[in-house]
Symmetry: C2
Subunit: 298 residues, 2 copies
Amino acid sequence: MCSPCIMAEVDRVIADRRRFLKTAAGSCAAVAGIGSASVASTAVLDPASAQRPPTSFTRTVDLTHTLRPDFPAWFAEGQVIMGRTAPASLTEVDEFVIDAETPFALKKVSYWEHVGTHVDAANHCSAGGKSVDEIPADELVAPLVVIDMRKEAADDPLAQVTPEHVRRWEAAHGPLPPRCFVAMNSGWAEKAGDPKAFFCADESDGGGASRQPAFHPDTARMLLEDREVVGIGVDTLSFDNSRSNGLDVHLIWLPENRWGVENLNDLSKVPEAGATIVVGAPKFKGGTGGPARVLALL
Amino acid sequence: MCSPCIMAEVDRVIADRRRFLKTAAGSCAAVAGIGSASVASTAVLDPASAQRPPTSFTRTVDLTHTLRPDFPAWFAEGQVIMGRTAPASLTEVDEFVIDAETPFALKKVSYWEHVGTHVDAANHCSAGGKSVDEIPADELVAPLVVIDMRKEAADDPLAQVTPEHVRRWEAAHGPLPPRCFVAMNSGWAEKAGDPKAFFCADESDGGGASRQPAFHPDTARMLLEDREVVGIGVDTLSFDNSRSNGLDVHLIWLPENRWGVENLNDLSKVPEAGATIVVGAPKFKGGTGGPARVLALL
């Protein structure tokens, strides 16, 4: 399709989407009573588009980092503890190993939920939001949109995915597919073996501020209000960096009962358009997220 | 296809499979030196069949139980601990909750690896076997074969999936697809809300012996030697029950660098043939298995 044709199609789809959102928000307000519709008044996902056309694939790409106790993380120590490999300070950590008396091996595992390649659920940043086990299973299988930010991120570690980047993707590939997952590929996944490079807090930013590529808050608003997106993803530690106050994107996106994935791996191995992401979110009751196995089907 | 035609096709495919296994085992022994091929001498998966024909789907079914601290499990207490909902005995368990000072919620989670809907990796029962992070990603997406054992299991809680059950499936649906996942649907998942019914140890069986439907050891051998199967699954706590000494199927299947899933849910919502299973195995380095999000694509 030529670029002008694609943009005309983008405009048409977005106009339809805005009409749906307006109607849905109106119905929602009417049912809930004015002022009491606390969630999703401008961000309803169209249930009709959960019915997908057939999706086809022939192979699998793994988008998950191997989770090790030394994987770069927010807290310095004790992020992930597995059996007897763990620091001795946690006395209840234990492990069975195979020996003459024990025919099986089994470890006790302990971690903070938001480690490695992991899901952020809505309740991570909103007291009434859906927990990780409440994310509808059909949202976990979604068309994968990859925004290539590798050049910008190489020049500027605080590069942000802006609405313009989304529009450029659409100019090349057409409108964002309904109920898609939008991922930033900044090339940061390759730094995961070097915690200092991956998680580079800089005292000049106020200490502990996250210096890595991320989403811009305007993009979170755009994807909520003008597109139909179930989840967002980054190949860094956070959807936010210090330019978005470390948490603005989280506070725009998650309270609308949306979710996302941080620390994605190997996004360079999948195309910008056409793949399907499968997010193996943990199903722990009440969890605010947690390590997930994330695969792409091509 | 008529039943005799299907069985002729089954015979042809099995003959091919046996020829491949014989050749592969010979090559393996030649490379490794006689006597040193410790794994998979009779159970090599054909790498060529990792190239699949296109698989198509339109919807998702969740095959995962919600994991709660009281989910039926092998050990009585402390299986799964999440934040402040945990017993106070584990002093290091903690949790952030959203309040005026903290804009995010986050829990520390602790569990024994084999809880809820979970993977058993090869190293669960073989010291040199692949750990859960080493299972090839392309094995985690597989044609799903469901053996319906609900009638037998209703009559006999120690019912086993025998080679005859597999042959009956093939008579109805054709040869097991290459690199498939074979799951038992015993109806046991519906008992998960009632730990006594789900996990019914019976002192008359020797105490602690597992009284629930399972695989027969001969079926594990058949699926290793005469079919091409990446993983097996059950909707009960174990591949084994007391009729297979509580562990025989594990000790046949896992040391051949195969894996499986226990505590599958909702297998009655997927067809006996034609669906694809996606096993979101945890990717914890060196893990012997662990809670997984398991989805079916239809």
